[in-house]
């Protein structure tokens, strides 16, 4: 049963549902969640006098409540979660596969978000790491509710790293808090130096930008300094790492970043 929202089965039944199992029973290792249904109908009593009701509620308040629930669960477990965001094709899944291979004994788990297919979770599971695939159906981003369900399936170990690979999209995921400790934006060197200027919201929300596929830079005339200048133009506080998941360049710095952030969170909790 859902531990965060207590929602009904209807929210989990999505389109294109062709697996024979019930997606709402928990505990099977190849979890695969579908989302994408709309709001439910409602009927209410009748009143005749017009009146003004002050609301002052964030439109995404419900998402934020789910995110807060996720954050509490992660904190209680001493887990550290990153929300990996990027355009499609920036190399998120390859980066993740290589990262998992370098994390040593650290317990970790992965939530994979895509509109369709279980391909990415299959790639993660091939490394031996537990992974849940969330298919968002029509949705263009993961939300706090989906991630809460996925966390229920993962049975996170204390002190884990949780990697959440968001749907490849530089727009919508910026606004949806998942309960993560940090958003990490991945930008590959073939995407254009001005991409941070074109999609400022995501790079504003990110703590760290990974400039990926730097091994390709000599072949694409990419100006890595211009990438960094544009990232800092949008977000003066952003940290930047130059990485090639393929050659391994910069990967140790990325793993160090993860472990130092996790350690800082653990320290803050203890203090």
């Amino acid at each position: 049963m859902c531990t965060v929202c207590g929602c009904g089965e209807d929210r989990l039944a999505g389109p294109g549902h062709e697996h024979g199992h019930d997606h709402h029973h928990h505990g099977h290792s190849h979890a695969h969640l579908h989302f994408g249904t709309g709001a439910a109908g409602v009927s209410v009593g009748d009143m005749s006098q017009a009146r003004l009701i002050e609301i002052e509620t964030d439109i995404l308040a419900k998402n934020d409540a789910h995110a807060l629930g996720n954050r509490r669960v992660l904190r209680a477990l001493g887990a550290y979660a990153v929300n990996l965001v990027s355009s499609p094709g920036s190399g998120k899944t390859t980066l993740l596969v290589k990262t998992i291979g370098m994390m040593g004994d650290s317990p970790l788990a992965v939530i994979e978000g895509d509109q369709q297919t279980e391909n990415d979770a299959d790639r993660i599971r091939a490394t031996g790491a537990p992974a849940v695939q969330v298919n968002t159906g029509k949705g263009c981003h993961l939300d706090g509710h989906m991630v809460g369900h996925a966390m229920d399936h993962l049975n996170l170990k204390p002190g884990s790293f949780l990697f959440i690979e968001n749907v490849g999209n530089l727009v919508c995921p910026a606004a949806f808090d998942l309960g993560e400790d940090a958003k990490v934006a991945i930008l590959s060197v073939t995407e254009g130096e001005d991409k941070p200027l074109k999609y400022p919201d995501m790079f504003t929300a990110a703590k760290l930008a990974i400039l990926n596929k730097v091994d390709l830079a000599p072949y694409t005339d990419a100006d890595l300094d211009a990438y960094e200048a544009n990232l800092r133009r949008v977000n003066p506080l952003i940290e930047i790492l130059r990485v090639s998941a393929r050659t391994g360049e910069g990967m140790e710095a990325w793993v160090r970043w993860l472990k130092s952030r996790h350690a800082a969170k653990t320290l803050a909790k203890a203090g």
């Binding site: 964030d58 439109i59 400022p200």
Partner: protein, 113 residues
């Protein structure tokens, strides 16, 4: 950006408020939208009409109030108002600004019967 999700969030708030306050219809619903919220207002208005169907806010007038964008300038350490997310600081011309307000997306109030 994700106007359909936003409209569904509004619907959730309307439905919750209808249960809590016992009204049957919303005449006017007012939103506050920050300049940097990334909301395409025309798209949101379209999604609003679709998502409110069959509920208390079907046919309601949707009003959107703009809230200004504000940012802290890292060069002159002053909070300034800017019209565009990538505008330079109007005081010192610096280009290193951290947004501090303008990403609001709120339901302000509703006129109900």
């Amino acid at each position: 950006m994700h106007e359909m999700s936003l409209a569904e969030g509004i619907r959730q708030i309307v439905d919750d408020q209808a249960k809590a306050h016992g009204f049957s219809a919303v005449r006017v619903l007012r939103l506050e939208i920050g300049r940097f919220a990334g909301v395409e207002k025309e798209a949101l208005a379209f999604c609003f009409d679709v998502v409110m169907r069959g509920g208390p806010a079907e046919g309601a007038i949707l009003e959107m109030i703009d809230l200004p964008g504000r940012a802290m300038c890292c060069d002159c350490s002053t909070e300034v108002e800017i019209a565009d997310r990538l505008d330079p600081c109007p005081l010192c011309g610096g280009g290193r600004l951290v947004p501090v307000a303008g990403d609001e997306m709120r339901v302000k109030d509703m006129e109900v019967v």
